[in-house]
């Protein structure tokens, strides 16, 4: 009998962890059938007693039990009584302790959110517990151009690279954070007025147009090429439509200013927060711009959020706008993301529209609609298993799966602690607060 020295046990545990990691990886490769639950594909009507076939981390088939053939010998997981819907897409979040807006200057497109994401932060685990599988992590709103956002898949990764998504052109997927209204106002070099804010942004975009044109004229001649400029380079991606602008904006007049700038420079745009969107819904619809709406329990907290109203989602939906929701975590809790959509329903949004808003619409806003947002063959096997109606307060997120791998399981005590909170669920450090106390209490 060998001695079970602590060291040996340690190795054994390591080995077991390693083996289980491999098993997990293999599990997503093999064809697996998820059966028995009500499937909400979002792209189609809900299916009672549905079948979801997953292989190589992708969806192979979705359908009813009667119409879907499950090859003999396929391992099945029974979700009878559960509801399965696409993994949630949060289009605006600050999880992972991403640094706030850098207040050294009002404009820095060169700042990249992914250089400061802590993938081990409790907030990332909480997002998984809320059923969020894809997230847009952004810098704060205390600057006019806060920097590059990053779109992540909340895979159980060890490093930020494990969570990143690559675009077709090979760069890290993400947009550009911009803001107007009162948050970016301040002492010089920050703008003191809304007019000045717009002028500063226009000036920078004009510089980016010049930079782009110089590069075009240089025709790759190194002698004629302008010096590389990280800020302008990013804005050229925006001008070329390769990088979507996510624009924080609340008041109706600020929304119109964003639409004016969008028209002038032709960038692709998602309006973020859009608190008074219901006042200019027709204008937003005419501009064909998508809106990611924030839902807050009560209006106010700052002047420009005075007229915030839960009806925004429904009003925009009826105007024909692509509507999504976001957590703005730390502002609302990622574990309660479905609640935002439910309050949208409470205030006039259609249920199918609200389901779309936290899945497919978000995917469209992040240019990821070919991979996520609906349950359809060929898409990533990102889904959430719920205990009941997605819009009921009594419903729990039971499991969260990304690319065929389970990343959250409420029956696992460690995951459950994150889902409900309790001693040991917090971070052993002071959390960074998004947007809080940036330049005083009036923000």
């Amino acid at each position: 009998m060998s001695h079970a020295s602590p060291r040996r046990i340690g190795w054994l545990i390591l080995l077991l962890v390693f083996v289980s990691e491999i098993t997990q990886t293999i599990a997503q490769e093999k064809l697996t059938a998820f059966v028995g639950g009500t499937i909400i594909p979002v792209a189609a009507d809900p299916i009672e007693n549905g079948v979801l076939l997953v292989e190589h981390g992708q969806i192979k088939a979705v359908g009813s039990r009667a119409s879907t053939t499950i090859p003999a010998g396929t391992p099945t997981i029974d979700f009878t009584g559960r509801v399965i819907m696409p993994g949630l897409v949060d289009t605006h979040s600050h999880i992972g302790q991403v640094a706030l807006a850098d207040k050294s200057s009002p404009i820095h497109p060169d700042v990249r959110a992914f250089d400061s994401v802590n993938v081990r932060d409790a907030s990332i685990q909480r997002a998984r517990a809320g059923g969020i599988t894809t997230v847009n992590i952004m810098p704060g709103s205390g600057t006019l151009i806060g920097g590059q956002t990053v779109y992540l898949k909340l895979r159980r990764g060890n490093t930020i690279d494990d969570l990143m998504i690559k675009t077709k052109s090979g760069r890290v997927a993400g947009g550009l954070k911009m803001a107007n209204g009162t948050n970016p106002q301040g002492e010089p070099p920050f703008p003191g007025t809304r007019g000045k804010a717009a002028a500063l942004v226009r000036e920078k975009f004009v510089a980016a147009q010049d930079y782009r044109d110089k590069i075009a004229r240089a025709k790759a001649d190194p002698e004629k090429m302008p010096a590389r400029d990280l800020s302008l380079e990013t804005l050229v991606e925006v001008l070329n439509g390769d990088r979507v602008v996510h624009h924080h904006t609340h008041r109706h007049d600020d929304i119109m200013t964003v639409l004016r700038l969008q028209k002038e420079f032709g960038f692709r745009l998602v309006l973020q927060h859009v608190s008074e969107g219901y006042k200019v819904a027709q204008e937003i619809a005419a501009a064909k711009v998508a809106c990611s709406v924030i839902v807050i329990d009560s209006p106010g907290g700052k002047l420009e959020a005075r007229d915030m109203d839960w009806k925004t989602g429904g009003v925009l939906e009826r105007a024909g706008v692509v509507v999504g929701f976001h957590t703005d975590d730390y502002v609302t809790d990622s574990r309660l993301f479905l609640r935002s959509a439910a309050l949208g329903v409470r205030s006039g949004m259609s249920r199918p529209g609200a389901l779309k808003a936290v899945t497919q619409a978000g995917a469209v806003m992040l240019d990821l609609q070919e991979r996520v947002g609906t349950l359809e063959p060929g898409k990533d096997a990102d889904f959430v298993v719920l205990s009941g109606d997605p819009f009921s307060v009594y419903t729990d997120v039971v499991e969260t799966w990304i690319e065929g791998v389970k990343v959250f399981d409420r029956s696992d005590p460690a995951d459950r602690l994150i889902a409900t909170g309790g001693y040991g669920s917090g971070n052993p450090r002071t959390a960074h607060l998004c947007c809080f106390n940036e330049g005083g209490e009036t923000r």
Binding site: S298, G421, E441
Partner: protein, 408 residues
């Protein structure tokens, strides 16, 4: 102790509520009526006259007089009571001019009265009312060792004097990292120092308490608003509501209460589940933090399930909306109780945490918190399970006045 406390409450009542605006005669019919003290009634009616509940019972047992205005709702519950908020004291706009919840010019200011800074017309008062809140225990927010005196007020849009139930309900204190002062010469700089300061101040007050009772007028000290308030706290007439989150700080507060034989209300208590036995043994009630409060700093280990644990332990508790410094400017107790109902509390227990329980903790069960004859006619009307996200509040009745019928 209890009777003197109630006497004080009675003396503290500024005005009776029955005035010209509350004379409506109303009959509220509910498919379901949760009375809290008289069970759950199906297909029932509440008769209201002169601002008070006249009768409540099943439709078959109650004759609705023809001159009563009849209003129907699917679900009727007692008007919700927010056990601790700053609404009306900290306004919706969050600008300097409408934020009155905290004065940090000195760490201990028991003489401040929230009633002196309440704005009954702030839009947030209207907003919480539109979701069913009819009474608020509001006042100074956490952040100073002793921040001031809270009060209980109805959310009716009438003037303050008409709607105040108790102008000096508790003395709001904060203990723990949240009440420390910044700056190197500012005290308290540590939690232990904060405790030393509280003890010293209470000693001063007990000295004052003794001297002020001297028969010889010449030997009595001058009236001191600061010490007078603390004296009331020492005598149990105006309990201390101590906001405290961490387990070690909760125990320190219980130690302080034992030393000075204080009557206190524990507020916040994010780490309550670690010290349940001690809280239970103290006999003090709890006003629990909002269920969905942010898990950060001293509240980083809070849990959606704490309410259920307090319930199981048999501790009297209410759920509060608390104080918010940014957005949302206020939380809504209806939603906070709903989250607790989804995390271990039964429907009835969750509803009690925002109706009858806060009434008990605030010493106001004779007026509010349940639907029974003789009580204030304060009701909240819903078109379904009040806790469901997609249900609407379709109206509130405050002192017999139907206030809002816009569904929210």
């Amino acid at each position: 102790m209890k009777s003197s406390f109630l006497n004080y409450l009675a003396a503290g009542l500024l005005v009776g509520l029955v005035t010209s605006e509350a004379q409506a005669q109303l009959a509220i019919h509910g498919e379901t009526i949760h009375t809290m003290t008289g069970g759950v009634l199906k297909d029932a009616v509440v008769l209201i006259k002169g601002g008070k509940i006249e009768a409540v019972g099943t439709k078959s047992s109650i004759q609705v007089p023809s001159n009563y205005q009849l209003v129907s709702a699917k679900v009727v519950v007692p008007g919700l009571i927010d056990a601790h908020t700053t609404v009306g004291v900290s306004g919706l706009l969050n600008q300097k001019h409408d934020q009155e919840q905290l004065d940090k010019t000195s760490p201990m200011q028991p003489e401040l009265r929230a009633v002196d800074s309440y704005n009954s017309l702030d839009p947030l008062v209207d907003f919480v009312r539109s979701l069913g809140v009819t009474t608020m225990h509001t006042g100074h927010g956490p952040g100073a060792l002793i921040s001031g005196q809270t009060f209980v007020v109805k959310t009716s849009p009438s003037t303050l004097e008409l709607s105040t139930l108790n102008a000096a309900t508790t003395l709001a204190c904060t203990f723990g990292p949240g009440a420390l002062s910044s700056g190197k010469d500012k005290a308290p700089g540590t939690v232990s120092k904060a405790m030393a300061m509280l003890r010293a101040e209470l000693l001063k007050a007990s000295d004052y308490q003794e001297k002020i009772k001297k028969a010889d007028l010449e030997k009595r000290p001058n009236r001191d608003l600061h010490l007078e308030t603390l004296q009331r706290a020492l005598e149990g007439k105006q309990p201390l509501m101590i906001t405290v989150q961490r387990h070690q700080d909760i125990l320190a507060v219980l130690r302080l209460a034992a030393e000075f034989k204080l009557k206190i209300i524990l507020d916040g208590v994010a780490d309550a589940s670690l010290v349940l036995k001690e809280i239970k043994a103290s006999g003090f009630p709890v006003i629990l933090h909002p269920t969905m409060a942010r898990p950060s700093e001293e509240m980083e280990n809070l849990s959606f399930e704490t309410a259920a644990k307090l319930q199981k332990e048999g501790i009297l508790f209410a759920i509060q909306s608390g104080f918010e410094s940014y957005v949302p400017k206020t939380r809504i107790i209806l939603f906070e109780a709903a989250a607790a109902a989804a995390n271990g509390l039964t429907f009835a227990e969750a509803l009690a945490s925002i109706t009858i329980n806060p009434a008990k903790i605030l010493g106001l069960t004779e007026r509010i918190g349940s639907i029974a004859p003789g009580k204030d006619a304060d009701l909240a009307l819903y078109d379904g399970d009040p806790f469901e996200y997609t249900t609407h509040c379709v109206g509130t009745v405050i002192s017999g006045v139907l206030n809002s019928s816009q569904a929210r």
